[in-house]
Subunit: 402 residues, 2 copies
């Protein structure tokens, strides 16, 4: 018997049949004697319908009114799921963000959770009711509805798990857990039984968008254990926790690629102090995140500085660099989108110096050229040509797992 | 400059084009310097979609969860209308039932309003914002969402007008006002400039379902003036108030028919005290409302008792009478649905004794047989064969208005 928070995404509750399947999972968890809190996202098509309705009337609505509109999606989901569980004869109650006093700041469409009142949830759990909570939404101090932005329902679920001191926060998705690589592309990809928060954060920041970073950061901060598992297949998924409980020696958790990367190269930058500072301060002022940075060794009086940014920031970054060409002082700007970042993540890396070498060896054997390299305590990333990315993932994955 | 509450129904906000038209009306009212509070219903198709989604999952959901679901419809309407007004550059804010603390009892799906906190609305009006309020919905003392049942948005609008001491509560519909008869059937029907609450109540209880009785009763109780007008045509509608301001002599406000009537005849009932009591107590216990009652003069030891009920109560009423045949003691039960109630309503009737006679004369000239007669201070109703109903309305209307 435990207190379990379960979160189901939009595709898991997309239609009546899926609602029934999810209700079956909830009912089984409850029947095992657990207290169950369920966080739901909006049905996939509901979200699309609402956005379309809004755009037809105003392509640039205020974020406050957009949140007022969008928050109805999760409310619809919880009401429908409640009806489904009622039909199965189970005691259930649905609650919106404001009803559980999910207090946030006033940053509409991207609000941060400040506090959750657990009183209402505790009362309902005390009556042995299954509690369904609308994810993604909260209220600010004016009692206006806010939404949490991307990955919001995961964050709602973890925040409730933290507030309620739940035993685990289960995130149901359409995959069976976290894999050592994308299983659709790497047939030998292995499902992990467990992974650390830090590894998950590094993987999530790349292509492996199973969990949103905000939710993992919150879980790590308060030590709430998460589990990623499938709403289609009934078997254990991947546990996300601070330290591995397994005695198995595993240096690496996964290999992933990120193709939403653009590389910028500033050629012929003066080789003098303060140049890098000038460049990256300008970009930081525009809130552009820089990823890998490569500064060449100077040749005479000039050097080259290369770096990568997310594709979504390409235009802004280019504008900044072009507008400040004179003050930065560079000869030429090269921008290329045909690159990909391939990363190997593993908490075990810290105590094993051979990981980076093995990555390079794998790529060398596959004859793949490395454009840039970046390492952190638990990650080795390389920038390669986009055309080589899938082969690079396969080569590195084979090196460690096959 | 006045404080005006405007209510627009589901068909007035059914799609983007209609939302824009209604926004135009609101904008004009605001531009004239008025403070404007707008109450909106759910878009027609939204309501249907939500009901369908629910039925697919559970044909008999709890009323609490149904209210949780349905209340999203009005929330969608207010958000979309806010976006439309924003696009026009107007200051606007949308508010749900719980945000204005529209407190109700816990009778889900048919809740009664207990209290409205005017604080939030006053604050927003004070900032010269147009305030959009979700109709039809409230919250009970547990902070659970309730809905007000049929005609709920009209009732929300009047309740807000009462709480805010508004100058008028305008109810926008798809007709231009209240007519002396159904203008689709009686070409000579006249639009009324004004009508009393009591006349409106009598007319609404019949076919003329422009305003729901609950809203009119509330307006009458607190003396809030209402106006029924069209959201398609820009001209004054019909004012609903306590006393006519017009000096014109008008005895009659309108003629209407109601075909949702069933007549019951109990033949051969014993002619002794207590029989009527027995019959109508049984029906009252089942919450069946009786309309016209006709008790024949006794012939020997037996008499006949006839009465009408709404069509929706037919089955229940029949079951009660059949089950209690022995204790009531009647020989035969005749039930017929092929009847209609035609009524003439007018506050001026009280001081004019010729109205009933004129009704009968009109029907006699048209050779229409009267089955039953019922009169109140401001109404004369006759039960006729359903086939004669339209002719009866035309004949009576011609007698008074043409």
């Amino acid at each position: 018997m435990a207190l379990i928070v379960q979160k189901f995404g939009g595709s898991s509750v997309a239609d009546a049949e899926r609602v029934r399947r999810v209700a079956g999972i909830i009912a089984d968890t409850y029947a095992e004697g657990n207290d169950v809190i369920v966080v739901l996202s909006a049905q996939g098509d509901t979200t699309d319908d609402l956005i379309e309705k809004a755009k037809e009337i105003n392509p640039n609505p205020s974020k406050r009114e957009m949140d007022m509109l969008m928050s109805t999606g999760e409310q619809i989901s919880i009401a429908l799921m409640a009806m489904c569980l009622e039909k199965m004869g189970l005691p259930v109650i649905s609650l919106t963000g404001w009803q559980i006093e999910m207090k946030t700041n006033s940053d509409y469409s991207n609000a941060r959770i400040k506090k959750i009142s657990t009183e209402r949830i505790r009362n309902e759990i005390g009556k042995r009711r299954i509690v369904l909570v609308a994810g993604f939404q909260g209220v600010n101090k004016y009692d206006d509805i806010t939404t949490l932005g991307r990955g919001g329902s995961d964050t709602s679920a973890v925040a409730i798990a933290v507030a309620m001191n739940a035993d685990v926060c289960q995130i149901y998705t359409d995959v069976e857990g976290i894999y050592t690589a994308d299983p659709r592309k790497i047939p030998g990809a292995l499902k992990l039984n467990e992974i650390t928060y830090d590894e998950m954060l590094e993987l999530a920041s790349m292509g492996a968008q199973v969990l949103h970073n905000r939710s993992v950061e919150l879980a790590k901060k308060y030590g709430v254990e998460m589990e990623v598992l499938s709403s289609f297949v009934r078997k254990p998924g991947t546990r996300v926790r601070e330290v591995m409980s397994s005695v198995e020696q595993r240096f690496i958790s996964g290999v992933a690629k990120d193709t939403n990367v653009v590389s910028f190269a500033l050629m012929g930058v003066k080789d003098e102090p303060g140049v890098a500072f000038k460049i990256f301060r300008r970009l930081a002022m525009e809130k552009i995140n820089i990823d890998i940075i490569l500064q060449s060794v100077g040749r005479g009086h000039t050097q080259d500085i290369s770096f990568t940014v997310a594709s979504s920031d390409r235009e802004k970054a280019e504008q900044v660099l072009v507008a400040n060409k004179a003050s930065i002082g560079y000869e030429k700007l090269n921008v290329t989108e045909e690159v990909a970042k391939v990363s190997v993540v593993g908490a075990g890396m810290m105590s094993n110096h051979g990981v980076a070498a093995a990555v390079f060896e794998g790529l060398y054997n596959a004859k793949i050229n490395i454009i840039m390299i970046s390492t952190s305590e638990i990650k080795v990333s390389v920038l390669v040509n986009e055309a080589d990315a899938d082969r690079a993932v396969a080569a590195i994955h084979a090196k460690f797992f096959e």
